[in-house]
């Protein structure tokens, strides 16, 4: 499967992706010029608050955005090929085969009228042309792989007979069935309780290393990012504001929004007096985006420049990206901004 002559370093590369939702007289830009890359076999975390465009970005990759949403422009390069130029039939060959997706809600993401086995088998039948019996055998192996006890029994059960954690394992089994080269996981642990979350994340990491696939992990949990990701893209208001490797992000976050996110995590080594640090305000609605930097209304360092002009996504020589005026030559605020200045928590 991987013997394509096409040479590429990134399993997935998104360039200036634009996805909008159209109402009668309004265009809502849910994803507005998103760019990032996932190197082969690496895990990219996409972080951001609700409404930052994370999920729409991931649905755009598989071209599963539903009406009235539409991908307006940009490029989605999977193994060097632009998915946006594929036919619908071409996309179907990729979905569930080369790129798989796991959704947030295990309770509702499985079809209640089919057995677990039927649902996993379907991938094998569609993509590998197996017959029902062979597909079932492979499905049992898959269930074993994701750590479901007595898979021979579970395979004939319906989703309602399984717990949330079990269902998410089934979803993972389904997604990994055809050995995808890229796995998109949209908040795979958010709907689960904490102990199950840890189990699923462990399973995830192990399988990722074992199978060597690229992963796009969408989450709003920085703890999950620290534990699993190699690279991180921070999204805000439908745009990437910072893209870097995970170590750098946690050691020296650059964008004021990233800094704010970090500071709102309660430290586990000592008690906090008073309130937790928060980023004031809320995510702007995509219908009424600020004209300047989208984070400007909530940014403690914002200047007039920030409020009137949208900064570009600048890439440095190491490939790290940042969308903030502070790091540009045009910066009109204090020459030495200590971005970590308000680290002292508000009391």
């Amino acid at each position: 499967m991987t013997s394509k002559p096409n040479s590429y370093d990134n399993i997935l590369e998104i360039k200036d992706l634009q996805t909008s939702f159209f109402t009668k007289d309004l265009e809502v830009k849910a994803v507005d010029g998103v760019s990032f890359a996932i190197p082969k076999g690496k895990v990219l975390g996409v972080v951001g608050e609700s409404g930052s465009g994370k999920s729409i970005t991931s649905l755009s990759i598989l071209r599963l955005v539903e009406e009235p949403g539409k991908i307006k422009g940009g490029e989605i390069l999977f193994k060097g090929e632009n998915l946006l130029e594929k036919t619908e039939a071409g996309m179907r060959k990729i979905r569930g085969n080369e790129i798989s997706m796991i959704f947030q809600e295990p309770m509702t993401s499985l079809n209640p009228t089919f057995t677990v086995g039927q649902q996993i088998s379907e991938s094998y039948i569609i993509h590998e042309g197996l017959n029902k019996k062979q597909a079932k055998q492979r499905s049992i192996e898959m269930l074993k792989l994701v750590g479901i006890p007595s898979p021979e029994k579970r395979i004939n059960q319906y989703p309602y007979e399984l717990s949330g954690g079990m269902r998410q394992r089934v979803m993972i089994a389904m997604a990994l069935a055809c050995n995808p080269e890229l796995l998109i996981a949209d908040e795979p642990t958010t709907a689960l309780d904490v102990t199950i979350q840890a189990q699923i994340l462990d399973l995830f990491k192990n399988l990722q290393q074992e199978l060597g696939m690229g992963v796009l992990l969408i989450t709003h949990d920085l703890g999950v990012v620290a534990e699993t990701c190699d690279y991180v893209a921070v999204m805000y208001g439908g745009q990437v504001v910072e893209y870097t490797d995970a170590d750098t992000l946690f050691k020296s976050p650059k964008h004021p929004y990233t800094v704010g996110l970090m500071q709102s995590i309660p430290p586990h080594d000592h008690d906090i007096e008073g309130d937790l640090s928060v980023i004031k305000g809320s995510v702007p609605s995509p219908a009424e985006m600020p004209i300047g930097c989208r984070f400007a209304p909530r940014c403690p360092f914002a200047t007039d420049l920030c409020r009137t002009k949208l900064p570009a996504l600048e890439t440095d020589e190491e490939g790290k990206q940042i969308r903030c005026w502070i790091y540009s030559d045009e910066w009109d605020g204090a020459p030495e901004v200590n971005i970590h200045a308000n680290k002292e928590r508000t009391t």
Partner: protein, 318 residues
């Protein structure tokens, strides 16, 4: 599954008892003395008394009910007051006519309704969707005796078409009355099935729309399943669950609805038997026919529940 069916059959017993009480009471709830009605208004007292004695009308009500039920269980529903024939035989001769009529109508209604509903749902807010729903609204609002009369007018008596219409000179294609041949079956089935087709179409549409928005449909698409398979396999199986209930109720309703249709098309089924018997105050036949229709209704509901359970594994009476 077997256990479920047994359990479900046992559950029908109270319903059957209720039905039998209602049917039995019919004779006693109607104003006037049945014996007097039977004998005629000017009949001498002794004759009325004779009839009372013969029918057991002088016994206490519980005894009468018990006798009625124990006879009914053995297949004896009494004798027709009009013809003197055995009621069971009267009904037996017409039973299959009505069942066939209701069954064919249901099949046609399900076929048309499902296709219309699915097409409507997948093409939501388009011209096709609106057109189907407007037609369905008409189908729903039309009284079926009127529709029957119109169909007879157009397709049995026929309309003479102007000469410029090619190939067809008149439209008297079907027979306006009776039951048996294809020509006789078409119009009554359409008349009876139209309303149900409309209800099933609307139900299927809304149910499909609900299901298509579900997460597991997105999961199926993300697996690379063809859109047609997504709709007809993943979505329809879920969408059918509420539709099956409606279909069952419709079939039951059609058994009752057959009364009008059979009258319009002079079909000799149970519906027409009820009407004729009511007009002649032939109590045993009315009672017997209603009992049989009710039994049929209960039986159909049983089948619906079994189908329901097959579609939705979460329903578990154990």
């Amino acid at each position: 599954m077997f256990k479920f069916i047994i359990r479900r059959i046992i559950q029908t017993i109270p319903v059957l008892i209720g039905v039998s009480i209602l049917v039995f009471s019919l004779m006693h709830l109607v104003p006037g003395d049945p014996a007097q009605i039977m004998a005629g208004e000017s009949a001498p007292k002794e004759q009325v008394e004779n009839i009372r004695e013969r029918l057991g009308l002088n016994d206490p009500l519980p005894v009468q009910y018990f006798n009625y039920v124990s006879d009914a269980v053995q297949g004896d529903l009494g004798n027709s007051m009009r013809s003197g024939r055995d009621v069971t035989a009267e009904i037996g001769a017409r039973f299959w006519v009505t069942v066939e009529l209701a069954f064919y109508s249901t099949v046609v209604a399900v076929f048309i309704g499902l296709i219309a509903g699915v097409v409507s749902a997948t093409k939501r807010y388009t011209f096709t969707d609106t057109a189907i729903m407007i037609i369905a609204l008409f189908g729903l609002s039309m009284p079926n005796f009127w529709l029957g009369l119109m169909l007879i007018q157009w397709f049995a008596i026929g309309i003479d078409l102007p000469a410029w219409v090619p190939f067809i000179s008149d439209t008297s294609w079907f027979s306006p009355s009776g039951w048996g041949s294809f020509k006789q079956i078409v119009l009554p089935v359409l008349t009876l099935g139209t309303g149900s087709a409309a209800i099933i179409a609307r139900m299927t549409r809304s149910s499909m729309l609900d299901v298509i928005g579900q997460d597991y449909i997105r999961t199926a698409r993300a697996k690379g399943v063809k859109e047609r398979v997504v709709i007809y396999r993943h979505a329809l199986k879920n969408a059918l669950i509420p539709v099956v209930t409606v279909v069952g109720l419709q079939f039951g309703g059609l058994l009752g609805g057959a009364v009008l249709t059979e009258t319009v098309f002079a079909v000799n089924g149970m519906g027409k038997l009820i009407i004729d018997s009511i007009q002649a105050r032939d109590f045993p036949v009315v009672q017997g026919t209603i009992l049989v229709v009710a039994l049929l209704f209960v039986f159909v509901n049983l089948l619906v529940d079994i189908a329901y359970r097959y579609l939705n594994k979460r329903i578990d009476l154990d």
